[in-house]
Symmetry: C2
Subunit: 181 residues, 2 copies
């Protein structure tokens, strides 16, 4: 689960929870998310259109209740950081606000907006410009130990899940011996 | 993590693991996944184009090692079900093969293929036609207790994660008292 942080041209901050963040590719580093139909106000979307910059911040166990609360329909002049007591921070001159107390946050620049005719949603694609990860969770080979953080995943609209490592497997090659596994 | 099952017009089965499956919307029920550049053979993609039908099957702890092995570059005339000893089954006359030993599997019909210019990938969108879920995991209100199954999530290209329930929150509404959380 992720919190997307934006701000308008007037500096009005916005924070909203999204379950639909997806890795699109590594080279260039692209991340997408699904924006629901914009028939009602969608402050996150409007701010991204307006400024091109946004942040994606991983939800942790400590943040989960407040993060869930950002899904309430606040008015445009209300700031979900303030309304839910989630602390923000600005990093390395990036225009959009990050969530302070999470070990993984990403600063993105809008790359493309792709309309999905099948259900009137949009795929918003951003290019990673900044990546802030607590170094305690990065292994020597670059793997991030998500399972050692308190970052939560989601199921459906309302359930938050902890994770635990089950296994890590090496690069797979065709192997005749596996037919008898 | 999910295994996508397909077959060609000639009945040749194919099974491949995908980390990029995403919920696109509920009405109509649409699920998407990202197909990497089709510059090399992509059997899953070719079969979906050719037949319009495919299955998405949740990876469990027991399946994870074999599921990972489907990422090896097998030839088109090799069948990953057989090569990795993952059992298949056909259900309710659906054209594409399902994975047998998983509590959650979905039969989809191709709805749209959306080219992503930014990195030459494609978003493949399917409409849910069949949903097979072990009833032991469905609550009275319809929630699926993913955390009580052995279904695994993924991190990066090679790590598989178990899940555990952290919390479930009710529908959020603006609330002044939360400012002091």
């Amino acid at each position: 689960m992720n919190l997307i942080g934006t701000q308008g041209q007037d500096g009005q901050k916005n924070l909203a929870i999204f379950s639909s963040v997806i890795h699109m590719g590594s080279n260039p580093p692209l991340i997408g998310f699904i924006q629901r139909p914009t028939t009602v106000d969608r402050h996150t979307y409007e701010n991204i259109i307006s400024t091109s910059y946004y942040t994606i911040n991983a939800v942790t166990e400590d943040l989960s209740m407040k993060a869930h609360q950002t899904s309430a329909r606040y008015e445009k002049n209300e700031n979900e950081f303030e309304e839910t007591s989630i602390e923000h921070e600005y990093l390395n001159g990036f225009l959009a606000p990050f969530v302070k107390n999470t070990p993984m946050k990403i600063g993105l620049k809008l790359e493309d907006i792709i309309p999905i005719e099948a259900n009137n949603t949009k795929l918003i694609i951003g290019k990673v410009e900044q990546l802030h990860i607590n170094e305690d969770y990065i292994e020597e080979d670059g793997r991030i130990r998500i399972e050692d953080t308190t970052i939560v995943g989601g199921a459906g609209l309302d359930t938050y899940l902890r994770t635990e490592k089950h296994g890590r497997y090496s690069y797979a090659k065709p192997d005749e011996t596996l037919k008898n596994l």
